[in-house]
Symmetry: C2
Subunit: 116 residues, 2 copies
Amino acid sequence: MENRNTDCEAINIDIIEKVKPKMPEMNILCDLSDFFKVMGDNTRIKLLWALEESEMCVGDLSVLLDMTKSAVSHQLRVLRVAKLVKAVKKGKNVYYSLNDYHVKLILEKALEHVCE
Amino acid sequence: MENRNTDCEAINIDIIEKVKPKMPEMNILCDLSDFFKVMGDNTRIKLLWALEESEMCVGDLSVLLDMTKSAVSHQLRVLRVAKLVKAVKKGKNVYYSLNDYHVKLILEKALEHVCE
DNA sequence: ACTATAAATGAATAATTGTTCAATTGTGGT
DNA sequence: ACCACAATTGAACAATTATTCATTTATAGT
């Protein structure tokens, strides 16, 4: 038998067998939790919310959120890697904006949830 | 002047002043990121997905996800505290099920996002 | 009333992560 | 060509967190 990590026996095998084939692929579930992990940070949520209102450069975001430019830049990189924001250089500054139409929708649904 | 944490001056004061009043309350944003933090874990996503298919007891979830009962129980507690699942005792077992109609919707929207 | 066991719990460990600080990079404007 | 400065980067540190292991709790079924 393969190595098992679980430490107990099934109680309702029928339920387990019914649910098992309905579970999404492992890598999809990882992408999913990675996505939420990116959203699950106060600074990044603030950045996303701000960028939903207007594109902004790193310096302005630092002032708006009252954080160092470095901290903002680090978190913008996380959002950029996750493809949630995109960066465009204009003159001396780099302007960030939302890169995904899902984000706004998900933010709003989640807001409904937490506001109940 | 109050203590500032930012290390730079505003570049577009007009944009900052326009966006500032549109930002949600600080505690709302915290609730929001806390919510995503709960979703941002592979084990908990799997638990939620499984429970979307059927209510299940801790033992069956352990077998299905191939984890120790303890690890499952710890994570179910996180989900329970976050009011995402509820527990009902039936006979010898505790059956868990989804407790929020938003969760399924948000999971599906997020799945659309990561599947592109 | 006992007993077997499902579930919960707490402490400990390892891993991950956010911010700070200092230094570097790249380039717009003169 | 130079300078000023916006932005990025990397290392270090502190804080948070997921799992394991050992133990405890509660109670269903006899």
